[in-house]
C-alpha cells in the first residue's frame, strides 16, 4: 500500500464506530425503558460497547493523517 492510502483498517474502524454507537445507544434505551428480553443478557450494551471501542481503536490508530 502507498503511504498515503487509507488502510482497510480505517474503513473497518468507521464501520464499527457506527455500529457500536447505534447498538450501544439502543441497548441503553432498552435498559432505561425496561424492554430488554431475558435471553439477551444486556448484549446490546456490552457487545455494542465492545464494537465501539474496537472501532475507535482502529479508526484512530489507522486514521489517514497518520499515514500521510
Amino acid at each position: 500500500m502507498h503511504s498515503t492510502d487509507i488502510p482497510i483498517w480505517f474503513f473497518i474502524g468507521v464501520l464499527l464506530i457506527a455500529y457500536g454507537a447505534l447498538i450501544l445507544g439502543y441497548g441503553l434505551y432498552e435498559l432505561g425503558t425496561g424492554t430488554m428480553a431475558v435471553q439477551n443478557y444486556h448484549a446490546s450494551i456490552w457487545w455494542g460497547g465492545l464494537l465501539l471501542a474496537l472501532g475507535l481503536f482502529y479508526g484512530v490508530r489507522f486514521r489517514p493523517s497518520r499515514n500521510g
Binding site: M1, H2, D5, I6, I8, F11, I12, V14, L15, L16, A18, Y19, L22, I23, Y26, G27, E30, M36, A37, Q39, N40, Y41, A43, S44, W47, G48, L51
Partner: protein, 598 residues
C-alpha cells in the same frame, strides 16, 4: 451447499443446495426494525464508498487484477479465509452440526488446515516466484498453453455460473429469512458488486472480504457466547444434551466426538470412514480446493512479498480453526436451547419433512442459525447478523467475478484474442468483463430460479475439475520429468474418471458401495472417494505418459519446479514474525483440537 462454499468441499457433503431451499419454512423467520435496516444500509454505503475510493488505485493491469501485489500478510490472509466463509456455508454447516453433531467440524479442521499450511509453506514459493497471475497461468509455464486453456475455460465458465447461483441463493435466503422480494435482492446486490469490483478491481474485492470477515465475527460470535452462558458452558451443554437423549427428546448419538465413530461407515450418521476423511477430504478435496482453486489462491498471489504470501495462509488457518465456534457450536447449542412458543423443546427436521407438511410450522436443520440469531439478537444486533449474511453473499459474488475477470483477461483474451495491446486496454477489458460477468451471473440466477435442480449439478461440475487439477499441479511442481503430454492427459483422464464415477452412482445408487468401498457408505463418502480416485488417476496417467514422452529441458523449468528454482533468500526476522514458527503453532493447535474432541 454452494455459492460461497468451497466448490469441491461443498460437493463433499454439506447439505445440497436444492435441499437447503426446499426445506426452509414459508413464513419469514425474522422481522427487522428500523435500527436493523439502518445497520444494513450503512454496510451498503460503506462498500460503495470503498469502491469509489479504490477506483484511483486500479489504473494498471497489475493494480486492477492483482491488487498491485501490495496486500500485507494479514489482509491477504483474512481475505483468503473469508473467500471461503460464505453465508450458506454458515447456515448449512450449522444445520449439519444440529443433525450430525461435531463431525461437521472435520470440514474446518482436517478438511482445511493441512492444505492451507502446505500451500503457504511448500507451494507458495513456486506460485509467487514465477510471478504467475493465475493457476492456469502456472499451468502454461509448466505444461504449455493447452492445459492452461482447458483449465482457464472450465474455471471461467464455472465461476461465473457459481456467481449466479450465489446471487440466487442470497435472494432466496433473504426472502425466507426476511420476506424480501427475490428481484429486489438480486438487483441491489448485483449492482453493488458490479460497482465496487468494476471500480476497484481485485483490491476492492479483497477489502470487502476483510470487511465481511469482521462483520461475520461481529454479527455471529455473540450467538455461541450467549448460548454457552445460557447452558452453563460446554460442560453444562453436554449435561443438558445427555439428559435430553436419556429422556428420549433428542435422537441418540455421539454429538460431541469427532473420531470415535469413524472406525466403520455404519458407526456414524454421516456414513463415512476415517480413511475417507483423512485421504479423501483431508487430501484430495481439501488440497485441491485450497491449493489450486484460483478463487482463493488469487488472494495470496496479491501479497506484497514472498514472506507475506507464505504467512497469509498460515494466518488464515488460525481463523479457519476458530470458525466452528460460530458455525458448529450454534448448531449444537440449538439442540438444547431452541424452544417452541409453548416452551417445549423445538425439533428441527429434514427438508423433506418440512416440504411434506406445509403450514405445520416446522423448521429444517438449515434454519438453526437464523433461529439462534432471532433467539439471542435484539434490534440492531439482528441487523448486524443479517448484514453479516448479506456481506458473505456479496463478497462471495465479488470473489467469483474478480477471479473470472482475471482468468478471462489473462488466460483467454490475452493469449487467444488480442495478444499485444497497451496495458490500459486490458484494464478496460477487465472492467467491461466485470460488468459482463455480473450480467451473465444475473442470467444464471434467473435460470436457476426456474430450475432449482441445476444448482446441485453446478456443484458437481466444480468437483470434477478440482481434484484432477491438484494431481497435475503437484506433479508439475515437484517432478521435473512430468511432460506437457503427461499433464494434459492426466488432467483429462482424471476429470473423466471423476465424471464417470459421478454418473455411475447417479444412474445406479447401489454403485456407491464400489466407489466408497463399503455397502454402508452414504453420499458424503462418495464425494471423498471419488475425489481420491480422480486425483490418483490423474497422477498415475501423468506419470505413465510422462515416462514415454520427451521432458522439457531444465532451463525451461526454472522458477516453476522444485529443485531447479532458486528461492530468494529472505531477511531474518524475529521469531514472532517467522512463518515457520506460526506454522508450528498452528499444527500444535490443530492436533490439540482433534485430540480434545476425539
Amino acid at each position: 451447499m454452494f455459492g460461497l462454499v468451497p466448490h469441491a468441499i461443498s460437493a463433499a457433503g454439506s447439505p445440497s443446495a436444492a435441499a437447503l431451499f426446499a426445506g426452509l419454512g414459508a413464513p419469514s423467520l425474522a422481522h427487522l426494525r428500523p435500527l436493523d435496516i439502518a445497520v444494513i444500509a450503512i454496510y451498503f454505503v460503506m462498500v460503495i464508498w470503498i469502491g469509489f475510493y479504490l477506483k484511483s488505485k486500479a489504473n494498471t493491469s497489475e493494480e486492477f487484477f492483482m491488487a498491485g501485489r501490495e496486500m500485507t500478510a494479514w489482509i491477504a490472509g483474512l481475505s483468503f479465509v473469508s473467500a471461503n466463509l460464505g453465508s450458506l456455508e454458515l447456515m448449512g454447516w450449522a444445520g449439519s452440526a444440529y443433525q450430525y453433531g461435531i463431525l461437521a467440524a472435520h470440514w474446518y479442521w482436517i478438511g482445511a488446515i493441512p492444505a492451507m499450511l502446505f500451500l503457504g509453506m511448500v507451494m507458495m514459493p513456486f506460485y509467487y516466484v514465477c510471478k504467475t497471475h493465475s493457476v492456469p497461468g502456472y499451468l502454461k509455464l509448466r505444461y504449455g498453453q493447452g492445459s492452461s486453456t482447458v483449465a482457464a475455460v472450465s474455471f471461467a465458465f464455472m465461476t461465473v455460473l457459481m456467481s449466479g447461483v450465489n446471487m440466487f441463493a442470497m435472494a432466496e435466503v433473504m426472502k425466507i429469512v426476511l420476506g424480501w422480494d427475490l428481484n429486489f435482492s438480486i438487483i441491489v446486490s448485483s449492482l453493488a458488486v458490479a460497482a465496487y469490483v468494476a471500480l476497484g478491481g481485485l483490491r476492492s474485492a479483497i477489502f470487502n472480504e476483510v470487511l465481511q470477515f469482521v462483520l461475520i465475527w461481529g454479527g455471529a460470535l455473540l450467538v455461541p457466547i450467549l448460548g454457552l452462558v445460557e447452558t452453563g458452558g460446554w460442560t453444562g451443554f453436554k449435561a443438558r444434551l445427555a439428559q435430553n437423549i436419556a429422556n428420549g427428546v433428542t435422537p441418540a448419538g455421539d454429538y460431541t466426538h469427532m473420531w470415535r465413530s469413524m472406525g466403520h461407515f455404519a458407526d456414524n450418521p454421516m456414513g463415512i470412514h476415517w480413511t475417507g476423511i483423512v485421504f479423501g477430504l483431508g487430501f484430495a478435496i481439501s488440497f485441491g480446493y485450497w491449493t489450486t482453486d484460483f478463487l482463493v489462491v488469487q488472494r495470496v498471489l496479491a501479497a506484497n512479498s514472498l514472506r507475506s504470501a507464505r504467512l497469509a495462509p498460515v494466518i488464515g488457518s488460525f481463523f479457519k480453526m476458530a470458525v466452528p465456534f460460530i458455525v458448529i457450536l450454534p448448531g449444537l447449542l440449538g439442540l438444547v436451547v431452541l424452544q417452541n412458543s409453548d416452551g417445549s423443546l423445538m425439533h428441527l427436521v429434514g427438508e423433506n419433512v418440512v416440504a411434506a407438511h406445509p403450514g405445520a410450522g416446522l423448521h429444517s436443520y438449515n434454519e438453526v442459525l437464523p433461529l439462534m440469531m432471532v433467539r439471542y439478537l435484539g434490534p440492531g444486533l439482528l441487523g448486524l447478523g443479517i448484514t453479516a449474511l448479506i456481506a458473505g453473499f456479496m463478497s462471495g459474488m465479488a470473489g467469483n467475478v474478480s477471479a473470472f475477470t482475471a482468468i478471462f483477461t489473462y488466460d483467454i483474451y490475452q493469449p487467444h484474442i488480442v495478444k499485444h495491446a497497451r496495458d490500459e486496454h486490458y484494464v478496460l477489458v477487465g472492467r467491461i468483463v466485470t460488468i459482463v460477468g455480473v450480467i451473465i451471473s444475473i442470467g444464471a440466477a434467473y435460470l436457476v430460479m426456474n430450475a432449482a435442480g441445476i444448482m446441485d449439478y453446478v456443484q458437481a461440475l466444480f468437483s470434477f475439475f478440482i481434484s484432477p487439477l491438484l494431481g497435475v499441479v503437484l506433479l508439475g511442481m515437484f517432478w521435473k520429468r512430468a511432460t506437457r503430454q503427461g499433464g494434459f492427459w492426466g488432467l483429462l483422464i482424471g476429470t473423466l474418471t471423476s465424471i464417470g464415477l459421478w454418473a455411475w452412482v447417479k444412474a445406479d445408487p447401489s454403485a456407491l458401495r464400489y466407489v466408497a468401498i463399503s455397502p454402508d457408505a452414504k453420499d458424503m463418502a462418495e464425494n471423498m472417494y471419488r475425489a481420491l480416485w480422480s486425483v490418483s488417476t490423474s497422477v498415475g496417467v501423468n506419470v505413465i505418459v510422462s515416462l514415454f514422452t520427451k521432458p522439457k529441458p531444465l532451463s525451461e523449468l526454472t522458477s516453476v519446479v522444485y529443485g531447479v528454482t532458486p528461492l530468494p533468500t529472505e531477511e531474518p526476522v524475529p521469531l514472532y514474525k517467522n512463518e515457520w514458527f506460526w506454522t508450528a503453532i498452528a499444527i500444535v493447535i490443530f492436533f490439540a483440537l482433534n485430540i480434545y474432541f476425539w
